[in-house]
Subunit: 607 residues, 2 copies
Amino acid sequence: MSWIKRMLIGRPLKSAELGEQKINKTKALAILSSDALSSVAYGPEQILLVLVTVGAAAFWYSIPIGVGVLVLLTALILSYRQIIYAYPHGGGAYVVSKENLGKYPGLVAGGSLLVDYILTVAVSVSAGTDAITSAFPSLHAYSVGIAIIFVILITILNLRGLTESASILSYPVYLFVAALFILIGVGVYQIATGRFSPDLHASLGTEVAGISLFLLLRAFASGSSALTGVEAISNAIPNFKEPAPQNATRTLIAMGTLLAILFSGIVYLAYELGVSPKAEVTVVSQIAEEIFGRGFLYFFIQGTTALILILAANTGYSAFPLLAVNLAKDKFIPKMFTNRGDRLGYSNGIIFLGIFSIILILAFEGQTEHLIPLYAVGVFIPFTLSQTGMMMKWLRTRPSGWVIKLVINTTGAAISCIVSLMFFFTKFGQVWPVLIFLPGMVWIFYKIRKHYDTVGDQLRITSCEPVPPIEGNVVILPVAGITHVVEYSLNYAKSLSPHQIIAVYVPFEREEELAFQEKWQKWQPDVRLVTLLSPYRSIITPLSKFIDTVQRKASESHYQVTVIIPQFIPRKGWHNILHNQSSIFIRTHLLLSRNVIITTVPYRLKK
Amino acid sequence: MSWIKRMLIGRPLKSAELGEQKINKTKALAILSSDALSSVAYGPEQILLVLVTVGAAAFWYSIPIGVGVLVLLTALILSYRQIIYAYPHGGGAYVVSKENLGKYPGLVAGGSLLVDYILTVAVSVSAGTDAITSAFPSLHAYSVGIAIIFVILITILNLRGLTESASILSYPVYLFVAALFILIGVGVYQIATGRFSPDLHASLGTEVAGISLFLLLRAFASGSSALTGVEAISNAIPNFKEPAPQNATRTLIAMGTLLAILFSGIVYLAYELGVSPKAEVTVVSQIAEEIFGRGFLYFFIQGTTALILILAANTGYSAFPLLAVNLAKDKFIPKMFTNRGDRLGYSNGIIFLGIFSIILILAFEGQTEHLIPLYAVGVFIPFTLSQTGMMMKWLRTRPSGWVIKLVINTTGAAISCIVSLMFFFTKFGQVWPVLIFLPGMVWIFYKIRKHYDTVGDQLRITSCEPVPPIEGNVVILPVAGITHVVEYSLNYAKSLSPHQIIAVYVPFEREEELAFQEKWQKWQPDVRLVTLLSPYRSIITPLSKFIDTVQRKASESHYQVTVIIPQFIPRKGWHNILHNQSSIFIRTHLLLSRNVIITTVPYRLKK
């Protein structure tokens, strides 16, 4: 087993090697922005999908809506820039909301993001797999299996550790950005040189019958799903090389700029070329085909799009474990999420994320597209909460220049809040599960925290209840016969407490009882033997009753009762089924139901 | 949990109540012959299925073939009658072959029968379910589920105990016998009164083109599948009321007589009425329809046939556990098969049989008909071996009248051997798996026996190697912090061995190490603390190494090393995931890999 682990995730690293695992800006941009950048592949299309319901003439609205999304993007980037400086240890929406708005808003933000990262992985990998199976239709039947293999691969890469996965993952991201830059550049040049007829699209301001504010809001909400992922950097600040906040801010701004250029480029090209959304071919694919024809560049764009969609999942892998650490440090989720694995990553978070994404992919059989609105609303709720938290912070602390800061965060909060509400108003049928799982998660967080608190109170040495002293030991030794195992256990018992040993034998029949008593008398006349005739052939019931009796007497004189249980350790695992191993049942039963100490004396079979 | 068990299988019984569980002849006939009697429902049909391949004119051969089967039946009944008296403690083919032919023939017989009983259950229940779903075609889609429910019901009945299941199970068997008697009686009367034209069938001795000895042998082998189940009584003698051998013999003869009458009646009626086998309607069903029309008696026969087919499974449940006990007593299969359950049945055998039959039904999706030849050959191999064993016994011991006995068993052995060989020659495609699983099972039996033998040698107190004395104890206490749990465990350690306690702390970082040493020094200055800095964040590796060091020193002075491991016992099961519970991992690892004694100190959380 252990060599498999080595091969997959590499040699263990020392805690002191942690610094070497930190990443620079170029790699960070690749790792943390693949989610945000990849959404360019579907964001503009989401807008057109809403507008097409009233007709192609309405497509010009994508330009003002696109501008709206850019405004929202700017507000978010500026807001998150302020968050990074204010909270250089990361934690993003959870920490910000918790500190400024209180525990429950923090938990809502944290729970929302935890689920969201799982959705990110499932949705992105499924979408990437769809892109591949569209190219190779013969693979279509295996798409669930392919998606799961991708999740496993990404999980392993992340268990190997951050820098190594970053090296592998940065190429596709930069290739995707380069591909889209070429597409947009060539496209704009062709438009400028008049290759495309202006009749392909309705001009801006054309009146459209049937357009409504509701529809435009819905299109805007859909378009803003392109902004999911912009919060990832603020969660991952501790992964940056020092000075972390400066590096994180620069990465954030670079990402925002790239996202803005790519998003507006695609929206603009789609408008100019009059692209209409189709079921089988994506908008980006149509644009690329119009501009390049079905040549090398077309397939290059399709390929890098598929890759970046799959890698977008990696953003979830960077952010989820860090958020989980923050929640676990506050004792809202199990402590195990704070353990660093062999390669210094928070392995439990990584594995948990992988398993749950696979479950989601299996549950939806790879058809996770209709999870996109759920996923988007799960992002905008924490956006809203964290921006609101920042507003409170500025109002409370009033540092120099707080008015500008307040204005930025207020704008961010207001727009995020509106987008969230728009999702509820315009897509309730798809986002309602949020209303169930968010309260559910907060309740679970609360129960876990309460448990840890009560346990902590009980363990604290300063608490009033003193541990009772132990004056001596009574040793109970259940025996099944007269064998080497019993002899060995008896020797051990004698070394502990020579005068307080009770051997217990549980016969099923009277003759057996008498015969054993006689044999014992000859073999160990000095050790007291108690036989408990068990007509119902149960060993545990009479033994437990006897232990209760002994314990009652022992506790009067502050004696501790220890039960010695011999256990066979066969040389091969399968041999275990050849031995009744009732010792294991007895041990578990007594441990759970009686207040006794259980000593396991292993008896190793040599052959 | 325990009340569910009570409800399903009843209150536990005392060992002394075993006598009351023994069964009388009437019930025994019902329980132990349902397998044999039910095969009347398909045995004659199997003959016709072979003959129909050369044409309806060949059907008259079913009469001489039927006579052949009756001769075989007589030989088997007489042979088994002798076995019952010679081996009144049961065990049938396994015991007889083992004692007279040696270990390996015995194991071949035993292994063959073990598998066969599993096949009995799967095949019979599937066939019975088919009969039901033929009557109610809307249930057809659920036939696998229905079959599994029947297996579970029969398993529960058998776990409840023998007499109670016998009471429930005897009615359908007697109803089936009564129904067939009525059918045969009315049929013979109608033939005698000339209701059916003699042209319906070719007369005996008609020449048939294409008939061959091979075909006739094949038909005979197929027909002898009706004799599966006759060995059941000889395996189950210990279940009979005293005098068991007499009662068993009378039951055996009663069963043989019934089987002979029913089998020859059906063969005769099928011949007289000229019934030809059809895919959808069974031969018995065709006969019943001819004689009664589709009235009450027709459905009565169909219904009791379905019931007895399902109950035939019960024969497997009576015989399998007893055979398993015999094998387990000889240490060829795990000892657990000798444990009596709450209701004094050998529950492990019953449960094992139920599980494996369900697996077979699932694996073949309820289509177990083509397992019939495999099942038949699996019966005739032990038949042959046990009869051969009896031959050897008579030749060796030569009691009074041994020549007649020898002749009877020699005839039985010869016919059984011929039938077995015929299966291999004429149906090799269906029976070849026997050649794989029989050697496989014998090999497993051999390995298990060898393991028990070596273990027994090691445990025997008379063996040369003396248990080394224990001069004193070194107690190692891994600590994770300064808490009540540690305090409590430390108190216990002090009560065992006040001067040889080593507390071990495994810090991941240098600062942590220093801080803990300081705290410990203040808290427990008298207890030696060892800190094991673990840069790779593993607890088990440094701890194991340290234990090795301590153990090396301790063993020089015959000291025993005990590791005390505190374990949280939370009040609710799910709380376990909130605690790292590394203690459980450490315990298991040390127990399996180091020669130390592990003491678990439970710390029960009160809230």
